[in-house]
Symmetry: C2
Amino acid sequence: MALDHAILVSLTERAASGYDLARRFDASIGYFWPASHQQIYKVLGRMQEAGWVESTVHEQHGRPDKKNYAITAAGEAELDRWATVPSGREALRSDFAVKLRGFRDREAILTDTRARRADHVARLAEYEASEKRFYPDPSALDGAGLGAWLALRGGIHTEERGIEWCDEILTALEGRGSR
Amino acid sequence: MALDHAILVSLTERAASGYDLARRFDASIGYFWPASHQQIYKVLGRMQEAGWVESTVHEQHGRPDKKNYAITAAGEAELDRWATVPSGREALRSDFAVKLRGFRDREAILTDTRARRADHVARLAEYEASEKRFYPDPSALDGAGLGAWLALRGGIHTEERGIEWCDEILTALEGRGSR
DNA sequence: TTATACATGTAAAGTGTTACATGATTGG
DNA sequence: CCAATCATGTAACACTTTACATGTATAA
């Protein structure tokens, strides 16, 4: 049920259509909880029935009507309830780690590791650009900005450690004979 | 389809029953790909039909018969094929990061962060105990052991960075007024 | 003329979680 | 006597991914 809460959090920041939310999930909040537009539309419908969000339709010319969703008091109450539920452990569930554990072809895993490292570097650059742009002075943050910044910090840590791990793998495998 | 491969990797290390695999998934390989016994039995059945594994039944007295599964040549070929498929980005999908981003109750998120930190510390201790016990001399590793050790290193990095992130959150939130 | 942005969805297939079902043996 | 371990599964539900479906406006 966590996509529900991710959408609610996003709507707390600003009301939005399903389309807008889908774009946000391709960027900011989707860093921590990816979701497609198909999923988002479905959950919005369910949450509207539950009374957690409400929508107003804006007619448009030349393109489909736009439904703007806003969080309701009941939705905010749900967020507050959710805040008190312990998160519990998050599993790794890493395709790459399984592949690494069982590798038999050194070149194949090296190729994969190099590509993975490049992905981490690229995403780290995105995160750091966001940090510089939106949170240039973290010590001045409070309220909504503080949580968003700390979440972004988590993304930065994740990428940094991913790079370290890749480097460790490359060092271990490049310096040895074939397997 | 990655549970399939996680099971195949595990069977490469040693043939096993569904029950044995479930225990392995509660410990070693499940660190990177958690799975319940229900899921494992289902996938074993599917993989046997596909010819990737084969089973021999061992009758037992006083308890149900035991089916021992072993990987076949076709199963190994599938692993080799899979090794050449690029892994692609792994999404974070973190409940906690979403909660942090949207937090409104400072005490609630502090409680959650402290519990999370304790989980990381506990898991890190497990990983480090495993490393000391099974890979006391990493430089001497080759073949199967090397991949398993590098995967474990990934787990260690994950927990270490998780602790750092929690500490950053605690520092940022404990030193400030309420929100 | 081709791709991208805008804007909303349904349907099917795959994957994962939780609940249910059975039953003997062993250790505290 | 109660809990844990051994040993296998089915069924229902929840969630995610991928494919399908439609149509205009705008910029390269």
